[in-house]
């Protein structure tokens, strides 16, 4: 599964678990307008670390603002 597909399915899974209504995931969707809260993001980042074996926030120069930023942060870290 591609990094993007993994991230997309995790957003959907966590939104379902946390009973939150997820906005349609487009690249320009602002993360804080996605319907998820900080705990949901913490959950997604922890599961991504388990799945992909990395936490790109450690070395990130800026925090991701949009869903596209978030995906690119993980994609660039995989290269």
């Amino acid at each position: 599964m591609s990094v993007r597909a993994t991230i997309t399915s995790l957003f959907e899974q966590v939104a379902h678990e946390q009973q939150r209504k997820l906005s349609p995931l487009s690249d320009d969707l602002r993360l804080l307008e996605s319907g998820l809260d900080s705990l949901s993001f913490a959950l997604i980042v922890a599961r991504l670390e388990d799945k992909l074996g990395r936490d790109p926030f450690d070395t990130a120069e800026s925090f991701p603002v949009t869903f596209g930023d978030f995906v690119r942060l993980y994609e660039s870290h995989s290269r």
């Binding site: 804080l32 900080s38 705990l39 913490a42 599961r47 450690d58 800026s62 925090f63 603002v65 949009t66």
Partner: protein, 457 residues
């Protein structure tokens, strides 16, 4: 000292304002108006729970009640009906201040005073009759709050120890002022200018827009608040001179991010806790704090490291815990053990976690024992260990390791048990206490004394 008296010392009129999400109150208007519906004198000498949901309403009540009531208890907006009766009992409360939003909090008894952010003109003469005790709540092992006793003098000792910055300041804070970190900012703002209060109902971007409109110069929050602000993409709306972090470990990544988001501002991280008060503030942009702060002679706050944890002794320490079975708050030397573990690396102490395994999720404490008791109530569970896992979003998150009962005749699949445990946790625990992940393990290490071996960090 008392709050209103200090704000109006030698006939001065306070020039600042409190900005709530829906209303703005000029402090000077409190000279001839009240938020308590004409009931201020009825509360004189009593012990009062300030249990309004709305922050601005609570802020006004704190200003009006200090010097008037014997004791006031600052209830955070998430005080549950389960714990309200114990808080009333342990504080000896015989009255409470409430508002429309708090009507749903049951278990409160005594004289009820309705309050709101709209002031009513009132011909009151404000006068001081009591050295009011300020009681703050902090979470305890069982999930029930502990009551921490302060005075206005202990709460403002960090403020009076430093020279006041020049000019009127506009403070903003992501914190709730009913918790220690937010209360510090509230008191600073009262003496130094104005304050923009956050609202749980508004987005981070909307709060920052409001703070910008009020001309915010100084702004504070936990590292988690700040990570969220950076993720909002809205930090460019404000241009503060001073950005403060406290309440959680400030790691180098968040300090660097804030430095680049606010190149003109001082980025300072402070150490404070409800019990120990304000410890110190570090402004050099580096995580941790210089070892020279420890044992510095003649310091207003004495800082000590004993057995790897940070201890503080100062006029900012709380007095004690309230309640019949309350533990001691200070050790025999008068120091408060903060429970924060530090390690010396290259001349700097860095924070590595909490002793006793207490987990700090976005500035909120989680006691592993409370979560374990919920997990252990599952009929298929023998024992469990709840611990912290590092998170770049909330600092830490909660995870659990679970040992299942062996040989249960019709043992359900592990995934089913995990699902049931999570459901039970979501039912009875606040969201930040629910484990992110549950791992089924064959065994957990138990020490010679029969206790679970807990990691320190």
């Amino acid at each position: 000292m008392w709050l209103w008296g200090s704000l109006t010392a030698s006939g001065a009129r306070p020039s600042g304002s409190l900005h709530g999400a829906g209303a703005r109150i000029d402090l000077a208007s409190l000279a001839g108006a009240s938020s308590l519906g004409g009931r201020l004198e009825a509360l004189r000498g009593r012990t009062v729970l300030v249990a309004a949901k709305d922050q601005l309403t609570s802020a006004l009540a704190l200003i009006e009640l200090d010097g008037v009531v014997r004791r006031m208890v600052l209830c955070p907006p998430d005080l549950s009906a389960d714990h309200a009766p114990a808080v009333m009992r342990d504080s000896g409360a015989d009255a409470y201040v409430t508002d429309a939003g708090a009507a749903a909090v049951h278990g409160l008894e005594g004289l009820r005073v309705s309050s709101g952010p709209a002031l009513q003109p009132s011909a009151l003469a404000r006068r001081r009759s009591h050295d009011t005790e300020w009681i703050l709540l902090t979470s305890g092992t069982s999930g029930a709050p502990k009551l921490v006793r302060h005075t206005l003098a202990s709460l403002t000792s960090a403020l009076t120890a430093q020279t006041a910055p020049a000019g009127p300041l506009v403070w903003g804070t992501f914190y709730d002022i009913r918790r220690y970190g937010g209360l510090q900012i509230f008191l600073r703002a009262l003496f130094q200018g104005s304050l923009v209060l956050a609202s749980a109902a508004e987005s981070t971007a909307d709060f920052l827009a409001r703070a910008a409109a009020a001309g915010v110069t100084h702004i504070s929050g936990t590292p988690s608040h700040w990570r969220r602000a950076l993720m909002s993409g809205a930090t460019a709306r404000i241009s503060p001179r001073y950005v403060r972090l406290s309440g959680e470990i400030a790691d180098q990544a968040i300090l660097d991010s804030l430095r680049s988001a606010f190149p003109e501002a001082i980025v300072a991280h402070a150490f404070a806790s409800t019990e120990a008060g304000v410890g110190f503030e570090v402004r050099d942009g580096l995580a941790g704090f210089p070892a020279s702060l420890v044992g510095a002679p003649g310091a207003a706050v004495e800082i000590d490291v004993a057995g790897g944890t940070l201890r503080l002794r100062s006029a900012g320490n709380a007095t004690d815990y309230l309640g019949a079975q309350a533990p001691a708050l200070k050790d025999s030397e008068g120091f408060v053990d903060t429970g924060d573990r530090v390690e010396l690396r290259d001349g700097r102490y860095v924070f590595i976690g909490r002793s006793g395994g207490v987990i700090n999720v976005g500035g909120l404490k989680v006691y592993p024992e409370e979560v374990e008791s919920v997990i252990n109530a599952h009929p298929g569970v023998r024992m469990s260990l709840v611990k912290a896992r590092r998170s770049p979003i909330t600092g830490a998150v909660v995870t659990a390791e679970v040992v299942l009962l062996e040989g249960a005749a019709e043992a359900p699949a592990e995934e089913v048990v995990k699902g049931e445990i999570l459901q039970a946790c979501r039912r009875s625990l606040a969201a930040h206490k629910v484990p992110m992940t549950i791992r089924i393990v064959p065994a957990l290490e138990v020490s010679e004394s029969g206790k679970l071996v807990r990691p320190d960090a």
